[in-house]
């Protein structure tokens, strides 16, 4: 016992045992251990370490600018003008960018992007977003009051999930998510103490969503929780699948029948590459199915500034549109978002630009179209290239990358390698990816981070590296796979 008796009584307040236990179950594979090792290797290379490669190629995260994609000039011009309005006097900026910046600044408190906005987001921006949605959806009306701007789509998704959590034990809210999934969902569900209900996408049929599987999953879940929410990612992450219109209709019918709340993550809506594929928003299909569905089905759809052709991840811009939400629940949602004060205003401005792009006749129009097309065409080319090269590798099967930014090929891992992985306490595809990283400097994310059918192995890679580098990556991957298979045969 020390002199004043204090030290001996005092223990730490925040320990592994006393912290929120739900946090222990939170994992986000996209930035998990493999990325940490990649960063370490980069450091080692910088310090002059000798390796069988000269650079780490990061194909793990859906960050287009990090891999060299260029921003849309008009967007950045307007943003710079909003940040420093003195530039309105500069001859370096086109008239339409200046006019747009002026209009946006007028909608900001005190004419500054440094003022708080309304918690739901700047009204002018929400109006533009509503108009964008209407144009996209063949004129189906969108009410700006149903638009909530957010800090990226992730923020809106987590906010929605939080709102819908209730019950204990058997009555605890269950949330249906696709397997494989974007691990934000499983992380959020772990954080919120929600019950994760998996439904498997069909790899043999190009990662399609089968309602029979939805039904199986729902019925199994009803035995131990109250499954009330159905999450769809379209175009898919990591699968790249673009759902057909028929499929979307089936899902809507199913959700209506089973009274499920539909969350449609549509952040890749402009990233559609494959012939015969088209993005159909859940909202558009819902309303085209008639009032029997559109009057009652609860739907929230999400979009973001991070993907598509703009790739502006760092701004944390996004929105959700809520359809048929109970008015009292909506009021609670409005209250909930106010606790975070407001979404970042630069992100809101970026969302406005995405919703309202230069029109024919505007000085910036032709450059805008050129830049947008170039980016989307390059992505389409890389999607095709990835599928093509990977499918030449015995032991790698790659479904067509119909959309989004990723490929999720299936890999055959020899039994001896599976054993070796188990000895190391690693998932077999983690073992594979770690070896890949150490031997080639290529960083991808093991399929176990996204979920997959038992006994199958995958990895997710982005199609974002510049085309020449992507070719190198794919060929190195091919060589590695053959070597690895040989080594562990």
């Amino acid at each position: 016992m020390s002199e004043n008796g204090v030290a001996s009584r005092r223990g730490k307040v925040l320990t592994l045992d006393t912290m929120n236990p739900r946090i222990k179950r939170v994992e986000y594979a996209v930035r998990g251990p493999i990325v940490q090792r990649a960063v370490q290797i980069e450091k080692e290379l910088k310090e002059g370490a000798k390796k069988p490669f000269t650079e780490v190629i990061k194909a793990n995260i859906g960050d287009a600018h990090a891999m060299g994609q260029q921003p849309i000039t008009f967007f950045r011009q307007v943003m710079a003008l909003c940040a420093y309005p003195e530039l309105l006097n500069s001859s370096q900026f086109p008239e339409d960018a200046k006019n747009r910046a002026k209009t946006i600044l007028q909608s900001c408190g005190g004419g500054s992007i440094g003022a708080y906005s309304a918690s739901q987001g700047i009204e002018y921006v929400r109006q533009d977003v509503a108009r964008y949605i209407e144009k996209r959806d063949n004129g189906i009306p969108s009410n700006p009051d149903n638009i909530y701007l957010s800090t990226g789509a992730s923020d809106a998704i987590v906010t929605t999930l939080k709102l819908l959590m209730c019950g204990e034990g058997m009555s605890r809210t269950g949330v249906m998510i696709p397997i494989p999934q974007y691990p934000l969902y499983s992380a959020a569900l772990a954080e919120l103490g929600a019950v994760q209900v998996d439904y498997y996408l069909n790899e043999e049929r190009c990662w399609s969503l089968d309602v029979s599987e939805l039904r199986r999953s729902l019925e199994a879940a009803r035995k131990h929780c109250n499954p009330r929410v159905l999450c769809i990612i379209n175009p898919g992450n990591p699968t790249g699948q673009v759902q057909s219109r028929e499929c979307i209709e089936e899902v809507i019918r199913f959700a209506a029948q089973e009274r499920l709340f539909l969350m449609a993550d549509e952040v890749y809506q402009d990233n559609v590459y494959a012939d015969g594929c088209q993005f159909h928003s859940f909202k558009k299909v819902l309303f085209e199915m008639g009032p029997q569905y559109s009057d009652t089905l609860e739907l929230v759809s999400y979009h973001s500034t991070s993907k598509c052709y703009m790739g502006e991840c760092g701004f944390r811009g996004g929105y959700m549109e809520v359809i048929n939400m109970d008015a009292e629940v909506k009021a609670q949602l409005t209250k909930l978002v106010s606790v975070r004060l407001c979404p970042p205003v630069p992100g809101q401005v970026m969302m406005d630009l995405v919703a309202n792009t230069p029109q024919p006749g505007d000085p910036s129009h032709s450059t805008f179209i050129k830049e947008k097309s170039a980016t989307l065409n390059t992505l389409a080319e890389r999607a095709r290239l990835t599928e093509e090269i990977l499918n030449t590798v015995p032991g790698i099967q790659c479904n067509p990358v119909q959309g989004a930014m990723y490929s999720f090929p299936r890999i055959t891992i020899p039994e001896r390698a599976v054993q070796k992985a188990k000895e190391k306490g690693q998932a077999p595809d983690m073992f594979y990816c770690m070896n890949l990283l150490e031997e080639t400097g290529i960083c991808v994310v093991p399929g176990s981070g996204f979920g997959q059918k038992e006994g199958t192995y995958h990895f997710r890679m982005t199609i974002l590296p510049p085309t020449e580098k992507l070719k190198i990556l794919l060929n190195k991957l091919k060589e590695f796979h053959l070597r690895f298979t040989q080594q562990y045969s």
């Binding site: 600018h65 959590m165 630069p346």
Partner: protein
């Protein structure tokens, strides 16, 4: 269908904010004025939130120039901007993936920004070292606090965790507690003595709480919001000792640290005091300190930029904190740039130094002048007394209402200061924040007004408020 009965009960439990309602109404009135609706005033003066840009304070030029150059790198090669701006933008971009503000940064923040902040803290605290690994960059102090509460609060059901919270305190913090299902354990600040924190009151609050919750966290705001009180070193040391004795996690909200304007006051950080108390405390007391680019002279609320410094957090717990913040992916990059500048402003010799210093000084002078002027005018009104705060961007006058006002308010089902605030807005176009938002001793009433606003706006606001106040008070005699 999801109805009120099938949503998160914690979300339902979040109390509505009157300030938000008033602020919304102020926006409506502004729109009505624009549409040509006739009112006894020509514009709305909204001083209800701690948002200096809203009422017309200008951003600091250097901050906006650097952000603009980072947004539009073509500016780096043009003469539109001073050379140090361009160099800073170039340096910042070089450290971002793909040299673009559009990339994600590391989840805990861009490493160079973490470094700048750590160095800033070290300098501020007279050399007490801060490590970049203990700095998490977040989308505003509110997100930082939410993150901390999420790590700290088990949320497993009874006993529920208690957080000792000062009264008065700003509304969004109490909303955050409600959202997380955390029990607020109020400790009253002493208005008679300039809103000081009294250890006896802390002890009382803690003792009384033990029956109905498990108190784990002690939340302090220094400088205070809404009070503007600045704690002395002695007071901080006492609080730290108390936290140590009672095994409480110290949550220090220090976002107003750059706004000290009282002649006899000085901001000393909790961390510095902790360190100077020696090994027995400095190696064991667990603490988190929160700061932001929203307050102070930068006032960049809309950029959503803040950080938390973690002190004495177990290395076994840190990875979880990192994973948790990882699910937000990263803080907005424009805000991270603003933080970098806040932590590392222009230095003597830099091209922008003179202008930067002049602008900051002008803002500080405006604040000092406005606080004194507001205190003087409000304190002279019958039925109003106003203390001179030592820091912060608000004044928090106390209203003494005739009993009839309280009765009238009761009939309307609202607090008297809310009634007053609503009438003030409708009659004079001045939007303030009612004291009932902050918690106050029963039977007392207050208003909070932001005074970091252009001086001529302040004068106009005070004129309207004075006129209204005299009319209002006369109505009830």
């Amino acid at each position: 269908m999801f109805g009120l009965g099938t949503i998160d009960p914690n979300v339902r439990a979040i109390g509505g904010s009157q300030e938000h309602d008033l602020h919304r109404r102020a926006g409506q009135i502004r729109a009505e004025l624009q549409q040509g609706v006739s009112k006894p005033f020509s514009d709305v003066i909204d001083v209800s939130s701690g948002d200096s840009h809203l009422t017309g304070m200008m951003p600091v030029t250097f901050v906006r120039q650097v952000i603009a150059a980072c947004l539009c790198p073509a500016l780096i090669h043009s003469d539109d901007l001073p050379v140090d701006v361009r160099r800073r933008a170039q340096d910042l971009l070089a450290q971002l993936d793909g040299e673009s503000m559009g990339s994600y940064t590391d989840s805990c923040g861009a490493p160079n920004v973490q470094r700048s902040v750590a160095e800033f803290i070290t300098r501020r605290d007279g050399g007490v070292p801060a490590s970049p690994q203990n700095i998490f960059i977040c989308g505003g102090s509110q997100r930082a606090l939410a993150l901390l509460l999420e790590i700290l609060i088990p949320n497993d059901g009874p006993p529920y965790t208690g957080v000792l919270t000062p009264v008065p305190t700003y509304k969004t913090f109490t909303m955050l507690l409600e959202e997380t299902g955390t029990v607020m354990v109020p400790y009253q600040l002493c208005e008679e003595q300039g809103w000081v924190l009294q250890i006896d009151e802390l002890r009382r609050a803690l003792r009384d709480s033990r029956g109905h919750c498990s108190p784990k966290v002690l939340y302090v705001i220094n400088p205070g919001n809404p009070t503007g009180h600045v704690q002395t070193m002695k007071s901080i040391a006492e609080v730290i000792q108390f936290a140590a004795e009672e095994e409480l996690f110290l949550l220090a909200d220090e976002v107003y640290q750059d706004t000290v304007h009282g002649d006899n006051s000085e901001f000393i950080s909790y961390k510095r005091v902790l360190f100077e108390m020696g090994g027995e405390f400095s190696e064991t007391v667990q603490m988190a300190s929160v700061h932001s680019a929203s307050k102070g002279y930068m006032g960049e609320c809309g950029l959503r930029a803040g950080y938390v410094e973690l002190v004495n957090i177990d290395h076994t717990v840190m990875p979880f904190a990192e994973w948790l913040i990882g699910t937000k992916i990263c803080a907005p990059v424009p805000g991270q740039v603003a933080l970098d500048i806040m932590a590392r402003p222009p230095q003597p010799g830099d091209a922008s130094y003179v202008q930067y210093t002049q602008e900051v000084q002008a803002i500080q002078e405006t604040l000092v002048h406005n606080v004194r002027r507001a205190q003087e005018v409000l304190n002279s009104l019958p039925g109003m007394s106003c203390q001179l705060p030592e820091a912060g961007i608000f004044v928090f006058p106390r209203l003494q209402f005739h009993p009839q006002v309280a009765e009238h308010a009761k009939k309307a089902g609202v607090d008297a200061d809310l009634l007053y605030s609503r009438r003030l807005l409708e009659d004079s176009g001045v939007c303030v924040s009612p004291g009932c938002e902050y918690g106050q001793r029963d039977g007392t009433h207050h208003l909070r007004l932001c005074v970091l606003i252009p001086t001529n706006t302040l004068d106009e606001m005070l004129t309207r408020l004075t006129r209204f106040h005299l009319r209002f008070m006369a109505e009830f005699f």
